[in-house]
């Protein structure tokens, strides 16, 4: 099984993943816009189309306002409509596209990965570890999901494939205790990067969320400044609930950045735009497939263009 995608094709891959989204969006827009001249009542429908892309009501409204202004100024053809939408989205996202960098001194640069169940945290950790490894950083992973059956094994399989050590505990062990051990070992063996996996949890479960706060405290006590990055993994298929996820995970777990996964389907992940407006958190990377090479830095312009088909 070839797990490593060739590096060259990633932009194409992302585009092809997003192309499906944009086709649909473009279809909607074409259908709405019809002959090329936008009538006032069509604006409502354009708003619908944007909402259908999970962009969120606020962003949709703003874009429609721009279209309305353009309509007053003169004719708009299809490419123009896409362009206006893409410009708007890119303007919101560009300042937030920041790759994940290993900066911590002293080492290890500690990255805590959190999110609700099934968004792809463990896979994302493996992919990120692979990226760091390619940059010649020494990486260690901690299998902090002690709750879900076989989650530890899942990370261990990735660890074996990548030859990266995985620190694990017993099932149902205390996640904070495991984080402590992992930090100890990462420091003892002089690792550059320590990636800590956590069990998926719904953000409205206060008890589970407090556990994350504890993991943070434990890491920080041992190694001031850690975790240096706390990444929330969002599933592109998630709708407006992503906003609630970001809000609460940021408050309790101190999330500093986002990774969006599963953009290789038809899901548009448009909620990223709404999230960007509301929270302004950096977007580090996007996941466009199941293979190791399918995680790439977030490129706002390409994303916006691909999303709108501009």
């Amino acid at each position: 099984m070839n797990d490593v995608t060739e590096k060259t094709g990633w932009l194409a891959r992302m585009r092809s993943g997003l192309a499906r989204s944009s086709e649909k969006l473009a279809q909607n827009l074409t259908f709405m816009v019809g002959g090329g001249r936008i009538e006032a009542e069509d604006l409502d429908s354009v708003e619908d189309a944007l909402i259908a892309a999970d962009l969120g009501p606020a962003v949709a409204e703003r874009i429609v306002m721009k279209l309305a202004a353009a309509r007053l100024a003169g004719d708009i053809d299809m490419t123009r409509v896409r362009q206006v939408a893409a410009d708007e989205i890119a303007a919101i996202l560009t300042p937030l596209a920041k790759p994940l960098l290993v900066t911590a001194f002293p080492r290890p640069h500690t990255i805590l990965v959190v999110g609700v169940n099934g968004t792809g945290k463990t896979t994302t950790i493996a992919k990120l570890a692979h990226v760091f490894q390619e940059d010649d950083y020494a990486v260690m992973m901690a299998a902090g999901d002690t709750f879900r059956a076989a989650a530890v094994e899942q990370l261990k399989v990735w660890g074996d494939r990548l030859s990266i050590p995985v620190i694990s505990g017993k099932p149902d062990a205390d996640a904070a205790g495991l984080a402590f051990t992992a930090m100890e070992q990462a420091r003892a063996s002089g690792r550059d990067v320590l990636m800590v996996d956590t069990a998926g949890r719904l953000q409205n479960k206060a008890g589970l969320m407090d556990e994350l706060a504890k993991v943070r405290r434990v890491l920080g006590k041992q190694h001031p400044g850690a975790p240096h990055d706390t990444i929330l993994v969002l599933d592109a298929t998630t709708g407006q609930n992503a906003l609630s996820q970001i809000e609460i995970f940021r408050e309790v777990a101190g999330v500093t950045g986002l990774v969006m996964t599963k953009l290789d389907g038809t899901a548009r992940g448009g909620v990223l735009v709404a999230a960007a407006e509301k929270f302004g958190l950096p977007i580090h990377a996007i996941g466009v497939g199941e293979k190791l090479g399918d995680l790439r830095p977030f490129d706002a312009r390409a994303y916006a263009d691909a999303l709108t088909g501009a």
Partner: protein, 478 residues
């Protein structure tokens, strides 16, 4: 789940309720707000359009405009449309085929297929007395097969032994063979998560389906899903003959849009919903009750059912007799607390009661939880039998002793006493109203749906004790 959608909608309805008459424009304006509320709740756009069109058409009809209480009428129409959209009656899982009945679970990655497979297997084993075997066909995600094996051990359900490197169709055939030979009633196939645009994997799923001829093919969908739910449901439905939907993570704070969309798009009923991380947190889905929850009307039917399931008849009769005399002491209160715990704890109860969204939120988040009940229990257990029978005996000294004995503060003891006093008053009032006969019937009658005869069509009069007045006893830290 549903709470914030319910809040949004009731905001719309409140504006209508006070009104004596409504014109068409006002109804249409209200429906536009309903539309936004649904969209914000991630209900799929085609579903929203259909819903709003239907509701508007009915509402603009003569009924509402001429009605004496037009606001109420609109609420009723929206409710009816909700029930329609959600799919009317509860649909059960269909296993009436020559055994083994194959149940195939399909869905996107991370929707919760494996967990749901184990939950459903446990439900079939425990509640339907089926002999169940599970097999994982997930050869893609590392350790997925191990996950199902571990879960199988946890719930006491057999799993097909893992043969490394075997491909899904072959695993399915081997599982079917094994299930036949070993006389299993049900074979559950947990498939790998796949994107509906991944043609190779979709073809594989189709091949598995053809090889195993499932009696049920259930699409597992995450309740947090946004607008993409349409694409997912349509594409899976095109490849394999879906028979139903399982919605997972209904215990999250998503607004439940996916629940509203699924029936419409797939044309198949939602059969089960996942309501928690515990392995028994899977419930049959009741559309009309869900509609009630969305409109903030609670789900009293489920509550009564739960009570009937867990009530100890002898104990209930003894209590009913006591209540009939207007007596309600600490021993009774203790029994109430224990009963509540049996019924699934505070959170489960609050979910089904009308107007309890706030309380439920606090509970779901774990800020007020069943530990609070345990603490109340401890306080009562620290009282002497005499004190339990006659709470009036409690003076300052005794309270200090009880507080020390149960590891709480005197204030908490006082709060419990206040709660008891409130409940006692409620009992007495109920007795005066003559409602106690009905109440006793509900408690002692055993044969459930013998609902209290007092107020037909209204909320059944819940025994006040079953739900202690929360404000007295619990502080919601928000």
């Amino acid at each position: 789940m549903f709470e914030s959608l319910s809040e949004r909608l009731s905001g719309v309805f409140d504006k209508l309720r006070g009104r004596g008459a409504l014109n068409e424009l006002e109804v249409r304006a209200a429906m536009r707000e309903v539309r936004v509320a649904l969209l914000e709740a991630d209900v799929a756009l085609p579903v929203v359009k259909d819903f709003v069109d239907r509701a508007t058409e009915r509402a603009v009809g003569a009924d509402v405009l001429k009605s004496v209480t037009p606001g109420q009428q609109v609420v009723k129409i929206v409710n009816d449309c909700l029930v329609d959209t959600l799919g009317g009656e509860n649909a059960d899982i269909e296993l009436n085929v020559a055994p083994p009945a194959v149940v195939m679970m399909v869905g996107l990655q991370g929707s919760g297929k494996t967990t749901t497979t184990a939950k459903l297997a446990k439900l079939l084993k425990d509640k339907r007395a089926k002999k169940v075997m599970m097999a994982s066909l997930d050869v893609n995600r590392p350790a997925a097969q191990e996950q199902l094996k571990v879960l199988g051990e946890q719930v006491g359900v057999a799993t097909l032994p893992i043969i490394a490197g075997q491909q899904p169709v072959d695993i399915a055939k081997r599982a079917l063979q094994a299930a036949k030979l070993q006389g299993f009633d049900v074979l559950m196939l947990d498939t790998a998560g796949r994107l509906h645009v991944d043609q190779a994997l979709m073809a594989e799923m189709k091949a598995v389906s053809e090889a195993s001829q499932p009696a049920e093919t259930l699409l597992v969908v995450d309740a947090l899903t946004g607008q993409d739910a349409v694409n997912v449901a349509e594409n899976f439905g095109r490849e394999v003959p879906l028979t139903g939907v399982v919605l997972t993570r209904m215990d999250g704070d998503a607004r439940g849009g996916a629940a509203l969309s699924m029936r419409f798009i797939t044309g198949k009923p939602i059969k089960f919903v996942g309501t928690g991380e515990k392995i028994d947190a899977l419930e049959p889905f009741h559309p009309e009750r869900a509609a009630g929850r969305i409109l903030g009307m609670g789900d009293v039917v489920s509550l009564v059912e739960r009570a009937a399931e867990t009530l100890d008849v002898a104990e209930a009769e003894a209590m009913a007799a006591k209540l009939a005399k207007g007596k309600f002491d600490m021993t009774d209160m203790l029994a109430q607390f224990r009963q509540m715990k049996k019924m699934g704890g505070l959170g489960a109860l609050a979910k089904m009661l009308p107007g309890m969204a706030k309380a439920q939120e606090a509970m779901a988040s774990g800020k007020v939880n069943d530990k609070s009940i345990a603490r109340l229990e401890a306080i009562i257990l620290s009282m002497t039998p005499k004190e339990r029978a006659k709470p009036d005996l409690l003076n300052a000294r005794r309270k200090i002793r009880i507080a020390n004995g149960s590891g709480v503060t005197v204030q908490e003891v006082n709060r419990l006493l206040k709660m008891h006093a409130d409940m006692e008053t409620a009992m007495k009032r109920l007795k005066k109203m003559g409602g106690l006969g009905a109440l006793a019937g509900m408690f002692g009658g055993g044969g459930m749906p013998g609902m209290p005869g007092g107020a037909p069509g209204e909320m059944p009069a819940l025994p006040p004790g079953m739900m202690p007045k929360l404000p007295g006893g619990f502080k919601f830290k928000r």
